[in-house]
């Protein structure tokens, strides 16, 4: 069984005799490495090498390679080598090991760190312009696919669309309700607390109403949906890409955009306005409850004030934004999914990118809309 490995080195004149013994196996790996490194200096001085392997009780690839390395070191100085006592069992492995590691690949060229850095910056700049291209390309193929649907309505994947609607719409309702309810309540509480100092409690209703209907409702819902459904889209499409399922679809003459992406994006575009509406109502409800119990403003007063404070325009502004945000989230999620490469790591990376990018774009889009609505006076 396993015994501790040893390597005895005896120099007689210019001849170095190495006598390995014991178990030269991977389990003793680190000891073996120390042993063989220890005799290297002696090997450099010796003029010829004699290796006696009779003492080796067990040998595996690692052990055989370390011994082979010793004899190669001697061979590199053109010193004569004699190896004796190879047992019949080990001969095959030693022969096998002799063949390997013959041509070492050249070590990678050291690179100038400044050049590397500059190259990195250049590549990431190029990469972001590529991002715009990918986005526009996806938008284009979606439009083409949609045109195809208009011309031939039967080619719409209705089952898939309904299923996606169920997933991103119906199943999202509880969490959206909860979050927006809490947000509405928190805003109202903060407003009452601070406005009270100026005796302006009742303006809380204006604040909650306008903020929720114009901005917060749609923004919170869009961010939730980007995190909840956008990431799922990216992960699904990404793992389908990894397992060549998307290639298989294409070879069957089906367009992955029509089959997979269009139903998903359409479902988002349909679901987000509905979720926004539900979310806004929940936020107003939360705000109303807080105004009642914390601010002492009864429901009838709250509703009356709300009636005065907000107009249908505020509501429209919020709702108009929703489908555009859904489109952005859907396009980013799907195109990031298609950019997944073969590894699990890239799936994770692309999913993160998808969520971060779509939340960023949703907020940028919201800003652009704010400028736009301000300039048309809405």
């Amino acid at each position: 069984m396993a015994t501790a490995p040893q390597l005895t080195a005896t120099s007689a004149g210019d001849v170095l005799e190495l006598r390995p013994s014991g178990s030269w196996i991977a389990a003793n790996g680190s000891d073996l490495e120390t042993l063989s490194n220890a005799v290297m200096p002696q090997l450099e001085q010796a003029k010829s090498l004699k290796m006696d392997m009779r003492g080796v009780s067990e040998l595996d690839t690692l052990g055989a390679w370390l011994l082979e390395k010793l004899s190669r070191r001697a061979a590199s100085h053109d010193h004569p080598i004699e190896i004796i006592g190879i047992s019949e069992n080990n001969a095959g492995l030693i022969e096998e090991i002799r063949q390997v590691n013959r041509h070492n690949p050249p070590p990678p060229r050291p690179r100038n760190p400044i050049v590397t850095k500059v190259e990195e910056i250049g590549r990431s700049a190029w990469g972001s312009s590529e991002d715009v291209g990918v986005f526009l390309q996806m938008l284009g193929s979606l439009c083409v696919a949609l045109l195809g649907i208009v011309r031939k309505p039967r080619s719409l994947r209705l089952t898939s669309l309904v299923y996606q609607l169920y997933r991103v719409g119906w199943q999202a309702i509880p969490i959206i309700l909860l979050i927006t309810f809490l947000i509405g309540a928190i805003i109202a509480q903060q407003g009452i607390f601070h406005f009270r100092k100026f005796g302006a409690d009742s303006y809380v209703v204006d604040m909650v109403g306008i903020l929720v209907l114009r901005e917060l409702g749609v923004l919170i819902v869009a961010i939730m949906v980007a995190g909840r459904s956008g990431s799922a889209y990216t992960a699904e499409l990404g793992s389908m890409k990894m397992r060549e399922e998307i290639d298989a679809l294409s070879t069957m003459g089906l367009d992955p955009v029509v089959v997979l992406i269009l139903p998903r994006v359409l479902a988002l575009v349909a679901a987000l306005p509905i979720l926004t509406f539900i979310g806004s109502m929940a936020a107003l409800y939360g705000g109303g409850l807080v105004a009642w119990f914390y601010g002492g403003m009864g429901p009838s007063i709250f509703i009356a004030r709300l009636h005065d404070a907000v107009s249908v325009t505020h509501f429209e502004v919020g709702m108009i934004k929703a489908p555009f945000m859904a489109l952005v989230i859907g396009i980013v999620a799907c195109s990031e999914g298609l950019r997944v490469k073969g590894s699990a790591e890239s799936l994770g990376k692309q999913t993160t990118t998808s969520v971060v990018k779509s939340i960023f774009l949703v907020i940028v889009l919201d800003g652009l809309f704010a400028v736009f609505f301000a300039s048309i006076g809405m």
Binding site: A26, G29, W65, N101, H103, G342, E345
Partner: protein, 259 residues
């Protein structure tokens, strides 16, 4: 350790495995001797992979006993199974390479986890293993998604052999390899078996492998081992499925005049 543990690397008795109501392995008994190469044949979907995965403790069993190197294997992946795991290498049917590591890092992974070796030596060992399975050192820098099916198999084999384990489980190692590569593979397995006293449990449909490297062949049908023995004996077996397997049209075309 008693006599049988010395003699047998794997002992399976009365094994029952099923999914839901469906029984895949039905009271199966199988002994694999130490140092032998056992080939397992069976119909596609007949439960070969399930048997292999159950022996290594990945699939819970409904009944029976499994012993590997004298250690009982738990129904799930418990500590005893993990201790035994240090002694086996596994080549999964789909390769199961870690997709975010390069081929070389995949091979180094078990070495790195189990031994304290210098990076230089790790690189040398990984390159040695790559070349032993017939790849070039340059292939080592590729990621699994950049490898062909056959190359994936070879890297997976190199990883399974990284620690020179006492037992290797190979699930269809030569499928997807060209005949030359498959032949090299057979030679490599034979060499390692001779040198390291390796026990090999190999699921294969490759008649050439069965003929040349396997010491014994076991045939799995209806969830049981219906015939086991050297290739000669299997060719003479009267079991209808075994006859169909070895004397079917395709097999006869390839059969060397062994019997």
């Amino acid at each position: 350790m008693d006599q049988s543990a010395e003699q047998f690397a794997i002992r399976v008795s009365g094994l029952v495995v099923g999914f839901g109501r469906r029984v895949v392995i039905d009271h199966l008994t199988l002994d694999v001797r130490r140092g032998e190469i056992l080939g397992l044949v069976g119909a596609s979907g007949g439960g070969k992979s399930v048997l292999m995965r159950t022996i290594i403790g990945l699939i819970p069993r409904q009944g029976g006993e499994i012993e590997v190197m004298g250690t009982g294997i738990g129904s799930t992946f418990d500590r005893r199974t993990q201790a035994a795991a240090g002694r086996w290498g596994v080549l999964f049917q789909q390769g199961a390479l870690f997709s975010s590591l390069t081929a070389r890092q995949n091979i180094q992974f078990p070495l790195r986890e189990n031994l304290a070796l210098s990076d230089a030596l790790l690189d040398e060992i990984a390159t040695a293993k790559l070349e032993m399975v017939g790849l070039t050192p340059e292939d080592g820098d590729k990621f699994p998604s950049e490898l062909s099916g056959g190359m994936t198999k070879r890297v997976a084999l190199a990883r399974a052999l990284a620690l020179d384990p006492a037992i290797v489980f190979l699930d269809e190692p030569t499928s997807g390899l060209d005949p030359i590569a498959a032949g090299d593979f057979d030679t490599l397995i034979k060499t390692l078996q001779k040198t390291l006293g390796l026990t090999v449990f190999m699921v294969t449909h490759d008649l050439a492998s069965l003929n040349t490297v396997c010491d014994r062949v076991a045939a799995l049908a209806d969830g049981k081992i219906v015939a086991i023995g050297p290739m000669r004996d299997l060719l003479r077996s009267e079991h209808p499925w075994v006859r169909a397997y070895f004397h079917g049209k395709r097999s006869l075309m390839l059969q060397p005049k062994a019997s």
